[in-house]
C-alpha cells in the first residue's frame, strides 16, 4: 500500500542525509506515518502510543541532545562495500524466510487459532470491559506490564545517574588535524 512506499522513501532520506536536524524532523514524519499505518491495520491503542511516543517524546529527546552535541555528521569516504554486501545477504535470507509465512490477513492463520479467540470471547464475561487490549495488558498478562513499568523506571534512574552530576572540564580533545578535515 501507498503508506509503506512512503515509509521506504522517508527512511532512505533519513539514512542518507548528513544534517542531524533534518534527520530528526524526517524521523518525526516517519513515526507519524507509522501511526497512520497502524490505524489502517486496526490497531487503535498501538497507533495512539506510537504517535505520542515516537513523534512526540523521541523527537523532543533527540532535539534536546542536538542542543548539546554538534549537529552535523562527518562525511564518509567512499562506500563501505563489505557492509553493503552483508546487508544484501541478510535481506535476501529474510526474503527467503518470509515466503513461508501464511497469507496476509486470512482468518484461518495459525496465529488466530489458539489464544486469540479465547481472549476475544472471554473478555466481556470475565471482566465486563469492552477494550480487549487493556484487559489483556492489565489482567491476563499483568506481570509483563509490571516488568515494563519497572523498565521505564530503570531507564529514568539510568539517565539520572548519567546526567545529574554537573560536567567538569573536558579530559581530552580531538586534535586539530582531525577537526580540520573537509566536511563538505
Amino acid at each position: 500500500m501507498v503508506l509503506l512506499v512512503l515509509l521506504l522513501v522517508v527512511g532512505t532520506a533519513v539514512v542518507l542525509t548528513r544534517d542531524l536536524l533534518k534527520a530528526t524532523m524526517l524521523f518525526a514524519i516517519y513515526s507519524l506515518t507509522i501511526a497512520g499505518l497502524f490505524v489502517i491495520l486496526d490497531a487503535g491503542d498501538v497507533a495512539l502510543t506510537e504517535a505520542a511516543v515516537g513523534a512526540g517524546i523521541s523527537t523532543i529527546l533527540i532535539l534536546a541532545t542536538l542542543a548539546l552535541v554538534p549537529a552535523r555528521e562527518h562525511r564518509q569516504r567512499g562506500h563501505n562495500r563489505p557492509a553493503l554486501l552483508i546487508v544484501f545477504i541478510t535481506g535476501a535470507a529474510l526474503v527467503y524466510a518470509v515466503s513461508d509465512l501464511p497469507e496476509f490477513g486470512s482468518a484461518d492463520n495459525p496465529v488466530h487459532q489458539h489464544v486469540g479467540p479465547y481472549f476475544i470471547e472471554q473478555t466481556y464475561p470475565d471482566m465486563g470491559i469492552p477494550n480487549m487490549v487493556a484487559a489483556v495488558l492489565a489482567s491476563y498478562r499483568s506481570i509483563d506490564t509490571m516488568g515494563e513499568a519497572i523498565v521505564i523506571l530503570t531507564a529514568g534512574i539510568a539517565v539520572f545517574a548519567l546526567l545529574s552530576v554537573p560536567p567538569r572540564r573536558r579530559q581530552r580533545a580531538p586534535d586539530a588535524k582531525t577537526r580540520g578535515r573537509d566536511e563538505g
Binding site: I34, V46, V53, V115, V159, P167
Partner: protein, 119 residues
C-alpha cells in the same frame, strides 16, 4: 495474488535493512540511535500485520461488529514501544556524556583518540 499478499512483509524487510545499514555504517552516535529506531519500528509493523484479519476491526467490543483483529500482538507491541523509548533515552544520555568527555561523537575522532593512547 499470493505474491502480492506478502508485500507488507517485503516492505518491512526493506525498512529493517535500512535501519541495519544505518546502525553499522554511519559513524555518528545520534545517527545510529535514529537507525535503531527505524529498525525497531519496522519490527512493530511486522507484528501488527501478522495480527490483522481482513474484514475485521479494532479489538474493542461494540455493536454491529462481529469479526475482530487479534488483540495479542497489540499488547506485545505496546510494551515494545515503551521499552524502545527507554533505550533511546539512555543511549542519548550516553552520547551527551561522551561528547563532554572526549569532544566528539563520531567514530573516526574517537578512533583517533584511541590510537593516541596506545604506546
Amino acid at each position: 495474488m499470493s505474491a502480492l499478499s506478502l508485500f507488507n512483509y517485503w516492505a518491512v524487510i526493506g525498512l529493517m535493512m535500512l535501519g541495519y545499514y544505518c546502525v553499522i555504517v554511519r559513524g555518528n552516535m545520534v545517527k545510529k540511535i535514529i537507525g535503531l529506531g527505524i529498525f525497531q519500528t519496522s519490527v512493530f509493523i511486522l507484528f501488527i500485520s501478522a495480527g490483522k484479519v481482513l474484514g475485521g476491526s479494532t479489538p474493542i467490543l461494540r455493536e454491529g461488529v462481529s469479526v475482530y483483529s487479534n488483540p495479542l500482538p497489540h499488547v506485545l507491541i505496546l510494551t515494545a514501544i515503551v521499552v524502545g523509548v527507554a533505550t533511546t533515552a539512555v543511549g542519548l544520555a550516553l552520547a551527551v556524556r561522551i561528547q563532554e568527555a572526549f569532544g566528539s561523537i563520531n567514530d573516526d575522532d574517537l578512533d583517533q583518540l584511541g590510537q593516541e593512547d596506545e604506546p
